[in-house]
Subunit: 704 residues, 2 copies
């Protein structure tokens, strides 16, 4: 099974390499296009270099802390270095996956812009396969890393112990993801808001106009935020959830042996294969909606993933009772996996309903924009609050449904119902994340097409080309929104896995059973209250960071316009690099405070409550109630922001007066307000709730 | 003790009567002032009449449901009628308190406007004592009702049972409060937003201009929302928290006897006396800031309340061990009470910090308004998210501090630490709510001065008079914000009381101990997730309701302007009554859906989870996590809304270009966005979280 997992991972990386070569062989268009693309490339690489330097330093500090914690507090120097190495390895793999994804995305953008001049199908393939490089690399690297650590740490001799030793890998990935998403999110929205406010509103020039000094920074932002940031986000999702499921598999060791522990990796590997087929199947013709092609590919991937899951459960999750094969567990757990796949499809549909302008919510915002920006924003807030209801219902049904599948799977066997039920939830999570590589490919498709549109606009391509890039761009907007819904849905489903992994970890550390988190105890309730508070505080700090970084951009653009009036007349080229540099420094500076609070607060809460004798339990409540609040607030932000964005786009199709109307101006304000919510704070919350899980897992010895 | 409580309650009502007479004896100014005040009076009374009719019908339906539940599901016809009567009595008292408060407030407004022409001190006294009528009546009626029920239901013979029989009183009060606050909140903001959008923004006429057809509706709204709505909110707070604390007192029966059960009532009665002294002490001179006078009165009230609490604990909470008096419990519990008083003072300061323009947060929003409404709103959102942190920290420390006071109070005695600790929290809640009548007087002072300003403006009083009413009005804005902070703080502190009352109730019903709410169980976790979701969904529906009701107003005002151009020229009087009627119908219609969901969802969740065998525990998690989310979201909304409001006021003092500047326009958008948050959804959430507690208490038999 390990060989299969390793083999599929390596095969995935090889496919990613060929996809990358496919993209790189394409033409790069005209000189003026190349000039712009080069500027984006330089800016993005400069940001990533500096960001990784900062993250690297922070990671080494944390690694030292982990090492000392395990050495001094736990007195276990063997676990100390294993956990520390796993942490650093996870951090490295996450950063590497982000880098590779962005490497291709900043090269696929210009090739898409060039290809769109001749063939829509070619442009779609370039942009989608460019995105797929990122998606496949992330999933394959995450699998490869875990499988390698499992092998190195002696998983073949002590399979029941090793999953606890590799939790550091998940924490490393989360730690990098937090800063990658925060820094990238702050960068992209500070540049966007800054460029829009001075460019569109003050100077009255269109979006992506080459006269705007912040326009390159804006295009760079799409790559570092949506591509590198969300890539790191889903890298750590797959890593953390695989580890959580493996830990649950330990509880089933006496039934399935090592197969129960490795099942998550095998299921994920088969999902990767399914995604590969889905990715290669995407093709379109000149005039049809590219979204159909992507939906078809997603459908193929889902069906194949279900088939893969069927075989994985039937081969790995059967009980051999003296020669008689009992496949009841396999059947019920396959059901749980199907629940997971269904959940991911439902999330995609619900997100579409709340963020696309074919439906009531977005149209209500557009209608309200006619009476000004205040009503536009009030209506948007109402939609954002309301849209949390359906996803929570779906997740609730999925958690309970898959839990009972797990319980039924082991009925009659000598097993605590809790462990059995949780393994059902784990299988559902595997089902939900089976299509992860495909979803990620759709996500990274977003910044590539966005950039392609920007390049076409700035290099003054003919109207017909820009219409086509606009079409691709608008599909990209939809897929970006879908991924966020998917990411938060999978985080919600997986949360339970990681909670129980934490409870197991504490039980092993203390040698006493620990399976209850009683929020009727005041200390535990306060732990939960503080967890929810962190979510709100962190959101506030993240939004404030965008505001502050945007302020630097606004001042710089204003200064350039003032010093050199030729810029606005189109006679002088503005100093793009200066803007890029300012956003880079601003974003890196502003990400520190929210990132620090996110890491420091759970530790502080754990230490304080340890002195009251309820450290582990209060931290568990902190984690659980924090996760609940995070799920709701992230959904609020992602869908609200997406709805405002598309309400503006709906008006731009000519409704309510179209562009330049008062309704459009009001909708632009709504869109700007939604930007830091949907692209900075919301996605950072996904990462935060998983960081809380992996952090508490790794630092559990501190709280006891 | 009952006599003391009843006596003080009646004495309070007598004082309220004299305060009311004091107000009514004042002059009512000029004819034009009377014409406006009469229109406000008519509108407010018409709304309250129709609202009470709707609430009355709904209450009777719920009463029938409660009666059938207890008769058929529990088979206890004695408890059935007692709970039903208590419910209806609570509903009636709450409605009565709201009516009396508003009766005076819509008469004090014109008298304040008239008095301000000659004496600031007189105007302050009229408006504040008018508010005090409301504050005192609410607290006194709530006490009187509970004490009477306790007496009637045989509290002197079976003191350990009766507290459980009167939970219906709290539920009745909460039920009325929910609809009073929702309906009033929707009314006030629909009128406000509607009047502002067409008047200020479209027609360019100032606030409170008599040419605006919605201006009377706007002034009516202040009374029905801030006065009747918040009155009902705090009526049910005091009722629910007294009952919760009495139920906890039952656990201490063997130590304190009936004194432990009646202590909450006595403490509250003494707090009422303290508030009366504080209220009578408020006076000012012509040129000083009226806020100083109110702060001085609050200080006096707090000190007296602390003294009253000292005597109450020393007389009631001592243990007589064979003639030897052990006053350790009294001392520690007095400490817990002081924590409560300190918490209320801290909440007042924190709220001031986040919502007054002397401090960083509001100034940051004002600064951001210079770059337009989008940045103004983004900064406001950041402030709103951040401002949840300090209140949560204070509440966390207060819960744990008072819990440990309770534990130490009973150390060495044969008592579960849990009950002892919870009684500490109960005492802290009593401390926090001791100053309730005074705080409420400050709150109702808000709509009175707001109305006085409107009357002065509309009757075209000289500039000097309007400067003075503006000063009173701005103080009123501050006090309104403080009350909301106080209301949410006391709800948070009291939440724990009501949780444990629910756990006790379930334990009695099932005959099995029930003191753990284990969110590590998937069903219980999902219960919590759904509780948090209700908070978000309800907020969304409440905001949407404002938007829809405002839309009716906008259309009406536009239609009047169009049909009769003479209105804008000031030649023809607009049809105020038509606007009042439209908002009334709109608000009553729109309050039904959110109100229904708030009541139906906990019942639905309880019934579904009962079929899974974990009804009571899942409902507990629903309640607790819902409360946590509610506390955070209400703080977010109240303080965020207050901050936007005052950022606008800060600019109006001449900063960043003053009135008519671009910054001011941007700040007006922020203020409008904040309105439905701080005056509709936020306050309704206070009520909702307490409704959840009392509802689950009363309907507990359903979930088992």
């Amino acid at each position: 099974m390990l060989v299969l997992t390793l083999g599929i991972s390596v095969f995935g990386l090889v496919c990613a390499f060929f996809l990358a070569r496919f993209v790189m062989q394409e033409g790069t268009g005209t000189d003026s296009m190349r000039a712009i693309a080069d500027a984006i490339k330089e800016g993005a690489e400069a940001f990533l270099r500096r960001q990784y330097k900062t993250i690297g330093i922070l990671s080494i500090i944390v690694a030292l802390l982990i090492y000392s914690l395990y050495t001094f507090a736990k007195g276990d120097s063997d676990q100390a270095w294993r956990t520390t190495v796993a942490f650093l390895f996870g951090a490295f793999c996450s950063a590497l996956a982000g880098y590779i994804g962005m490497y291709i995305s900043i090269r696929a953008n210009i090739r898409t812009a060039s290809a769109v001049r001749t063939s829509m199908d070619r442009a779609l393939k370039i942009s989608f396969r460019g995105g797929a490089v990122s998606g496949i690399t992330i999933v394959a690297l995450s699998l490869l890393g875990i499988a390698l650590l499992f092998l190195l740490y002696g998983g073949q001799t002590e399979p029941e112990k090793v999953p606890f030793l590799i939790v550091g890998y998940g924490f490393g990935a989360s730690f990098v993801a937090l800063f990658a998403q925060l820094g990238g999110g702050i960068y992209t929205k500070a540049a966007d808001v800054g460029a829009d406010l001075v460019g569109k509103v003050e100077a009255g020039i269109p979006e992506d106009d080459p006269r705007n000094p912040a326009v390159i920074a804006d295009l760079v932002g799409d790559n570092v935020g949506d591509c590198a940031g969300r890539g790191a986000d889903l890298f750590e999702s797959t890593a953390a959830e695989n580890i959580g499921a493996m830990i649950l598999g330990v509880a089933l060791f006496k039934y399935f042996g090592v197969a129960g522990i490795l099942f998550p990796l095998v299921a994920r590997a088969l999902g990767l294969l399914a995604s590969l087929v889905g990715i290669y199947s995407v093709r379109t013709d000149e005039n049809s909606d590219p979204m159909h092609a992507l939906n078809r590919g997603y459908f193929i991937t889902s069906v194949l993933a279900a088939i893969g899951l069927y075989f994985a459960t039937q081969y790995l999750l059967v009980i051999n009772e003296g020669g008689i094969v009992n496949s009841t567990p396999a059947n019920w757990l396959f059901g749980a996996g199907l629940i997971g796949i269904a959940t991911s499809i439902l999330f995609v549909y619900i997100t579409q309903y709340y963020t696309e302008y074919h439906y009531r919510p977005v149209r209500a915002i557009a209608t309200a924009s006619q009476t000004g920006s205040a009503t536009s924003i009030i209506t948007g807030l109402a939609v954002a609050f309301e849209c949390t209801a359906l996803p929570v219902l779906v997740i609730s049904v999925a958690i309970l449904g898959s839990y009972y599948c797990g319980v039924y799977a082991f009925t009659g066997l000598d097993l605590r119902p809790a462990s059995a039920g949780l393994y059902g939830i784990a299988t559902a999570t595997m089902g939900m994340l089976a299509t992860c590589a495909y979803i990620l490919a759709m996500d990274t498709f977003g910044p590539i097409t966005d950039n392609a549109g920007g390049i076409a606009e700035m290099s003054q391509q003919p109207e017909a080309v820009r219409v086509k890039t606009d079409r691709l761009d608008s599909v990209g907007n939809t897929t970006k929104a879908l991924t966020k819904g998917y990411a938060i849905g999978s985080a919600a489903l997986a949360a339970f896995l990681l909670f129980s992994a934490y409870l197991d970890e504490v039980a092993i550390l203390t040698g006493r059973p620990f399976d209850s988190v009683d929020i009727a105890k005041p200390e535990v309730f306060v732990g939960g209250l503080l967890g929810a508070m962190l979510i709100f505080l962190f959101s506030g700090l993240a939004i404030r960071a965008v505001g502050r970084a945007a302020y630097y951009v606004i001042n710089e653009v204003r200064a350039q316009f003032k010093e050199n009036p030729g810029i606005l007349e189109g006679k002088v080229k503005p100093d793009y690099a200066q803007c890029v540099d300012i956003v880079t420094r601003g974003a890196l500076k502003e990400m520190i405070l929210p990132g620090f609070i996110a890491v420091a607060m759970p530790i502080g809460v754990g230490l304080i409550f340890r002195s009251l004798g309820v450290g582990a339990e209060s931290v568990a409540a902190f984690l659980m109630v924090g996760t609940i609040s995070g799920i709701l607030l992230a959904t609020f932000m992602n869908n609200g922001g997406g709805a405002w964005d598309n309400a503006k786009k709906f008006i731009e199709t000519g409704q309510f007066g179209g562009k330049q109307s008062e309704a459009h101006k009001a909708a632009v304000v709504g869109d700007t307000v939604g930007d830091p919510l949907k692209d900075t704070a919301g996605p950072s919350l996904h990462v935060l709730i998983k960081l809380l899980s992996t952090l508490t897992l790794v630092l559990a010895p501190l709280f006891i």
